[in-house]
Structures are given as structure tokens and as C-alpha cells.
Symmetry: C2
Subunit: 184 residues, 2 copies
């Protein structure tokens, strides 16, 4: 049987980029922002200095040091038993991120082959059955079924099915599927 | 009208990588190999030292210095009037090449947006109407219409329509199309 294919975004999905935004801001200013206080903010507005996020995104080392999202490793590893998993990141906007993102994946997701990694600009060119992404613009351009991974900047969006965290990804792709099969 | 989409490979198609193989070998050994003498050879066998090509591919700076294929710039620029052009390179195998390839494109093809660049491992995940590539394995996995761009290592392949050079790409996508439209 041919496996269904799932594309998974990096920043905000595999990688907990909001933690890095807040850590970098704390390092720079000494001001500690609670992650609950940024819910509903746009990415660029999640710290008071509106130039900060763009500056961090262009800082060498930024993408290499982002913490892995909670439970992402275990769930992706299990998903690989049932699906072909691709990591698809719109990394091309930040050229210095390319090597860092490749190294980050090698460290944290060594069980994902280089053959299953895609760095692009526009996700409409990606041909998989599903895309898990935190950005509406990527889900909008995607031709398959888009699933919104919840993070602070997308809590008011309602146009795509929402996965609240990696346990929810597990439920959607594994638990619910098993229940369906068992009820056949 | 929605434009048809064309994916274009880098090494061996936009970039004349065989020239770099032969230049690097000449630099290393002082032995000059004529490009006509490697026709029909596999890539790894195009110089007498069978370890050399792999070594060059892992040498920092190698991908950054490859010369542009003859006529590629002019033809790609013209193709953009009629098609959505994507550059799709299986760069993921060589992590150090990622940044170099991005810079190379910025220098030689600045008219291609970062949104239209894809670095991947497996081209079966790319959803465009056409793929121009010099490697059969990429054309085999591709879901759209594959076109073989001629180079020394693929002269005996006959499973895909062959484009001998960039003038031939122009003929296929522009001249022949104009003739068809005029004869309607």
C-alpha cells in the first residue's frame, strides 16, 4: 500500500520559535515576557521592540538554537511507521538559515532522511497529501489538505482544521485512524 | 490564464558542473581532459581518479564557483514571460552547498525570486507541469512531464524527450509553442 504523505513545517511546528523570540529579547533587554501574554499577537508584535523579531531572524545562529517543540520527536518518529514524512520549510527567505536548519534537523530529527527535507519559498509547489503549518499563507497556497498547527499568532484563525499541539497531531493521524479501522 | 509551471535543475542544467569537474581536476593534477573525451562516462568516472568527483562535491566553494551554462540566463528570462519558473535542486545531499547555491542563484539569476527556489532531496514531491533535469532518477520520480537535458553522462538514455542545450529548451517551450498557436 502506498503511504499517504505529510509535509511538516519547521518554525512554529517542529521548532518552538516563540521560545527563541522571547529568550533573545530577554538576553537583549533583561525583560521577561510570559508566553501567555503574547497570545493573539502577530509575530512581529510579540515583543515591544517592533524591529527585534526581524533582527533575530537575520542573526547567525538563531535558527540553529531553537528548542524542539514538546513531543515533536516522538510523534514524528511514530508517524513515520504509517506515513511518508517530509519536512518542508520556507527557509529560502533567510539564506543564512539554510545550513543551520539542515544541521538542526540532523541533530534533533536524525531519523528524517535528507531525501525527505525540502527548503522552499512557496509551498504551493509541494505535492503531498497533508501539510501541517502554523501560517495561513502556506496552507492557502497548498494544494492538499492543510492543517493549522496552533501557536500564539494564529489563535483567531478558523479556516483550517486546528491541531493544538503534537498530541493532537498524534490523535488526528494515528488514534483517530486506528479507531476508524477498528470500527470498519 | 494560469501559467504552466516548469522546474529547472541546477547542476548540469543551469550550472555547467562538468566544466568545474575538469577545472578542479586540472588544478589538482595539471592534467587537462577535453570535454569531448568524457562523453558517455558516468559522473564519478569522468576523471581518472575515481575519488575525485565526490571530493570536489564536498569541497567548500565548489558549488559557488560553477560557471553558468551557455545561454541559460537569456532563455530562463524569456521563459518567465510565459511560464512560472522554479529552480529545483537536490541540494540536500550536500549541506554545505545550500548557502552557496542560494548565493550562486542570487548572482547569476537575480530575476528568479527566492519564492521560486526549492532545495530538496527527492523530486517526486515537486508539483509542477514540467521538469528539466539531466538525471534520469529525478525524471523517474517526477509526476509531471520530464525532459532530459543533455550532458556527457546521459547520452545513451532514451526514455525521456531530450533537450540538447538551452537553445533547444527555447525551441521546445517558446518557438514550437508559437508555431502551434499560429497554426490553430
Amino acid at each position: 500500500m502506498i503511504k499517504k504523505t505529510i509535509s511538516i513545517d519547521m518554525d512554529g511546528v517542529l521548532a518552538d520559535i516563540k521560545q527563541s523570540y522571547l529568550s533573545y529579547y530577554f538576553e537583549e533587554t533583561g525583560i521577561c515576557i510570559d508566553e501567555n501574554d503574547i497570545i493573539g499577537q502577530r509575530e512581529a508584535d510579540c515583543v515591544p521592540d517592533k524591529t527585534a523579531i526581524s533582527r533575530y531572524l537575520h542573526t547567525p545562529g538563531f535558527f540553529r538554537s531553537i528548542p524542539v517543540a514538546k513531543d515533536a520527536q516522538d510523534v514524528v518518529k511514530e508517524l513515520q511507521n504509517y506515513y511518508d514524512i517530509y519536512v518542508v520549510s520556507a527557509a529560502m527567505e533567510f539564506p543564512t538559515s539554510l545550513f543551520e536548519k539542515r544541521e538542526w534537523l540532523q541533530e534533533h530529527f536524525p531519523f528524517i532522511s535528507w531525501k525527505n527535507i525540502v527548503f522552499c519559498g512557496y509551498k504551493g509547489v509541494i505535492n503531498t497529501d497533508f501539510l501541517i503549518d502554523d501560517h495561513i499563507k502556506n496552507l492557502d497556497s497548498f494544494l492538499g489538505r492543510g492543517l493549522l498547527f496552533e501557536t500564539f499568532h494564529n489563535v483567531t484563525e478558523d479556516r483550517f482544521e486546528r491541531l493544538k499541539n503534537w498530541n493532537d497531531v498524534h490523535r488526528f493521524f494515528i488514534t483517530d485512524l486506528s479507531n476508524k479501522v477498528m470500527n470498519l
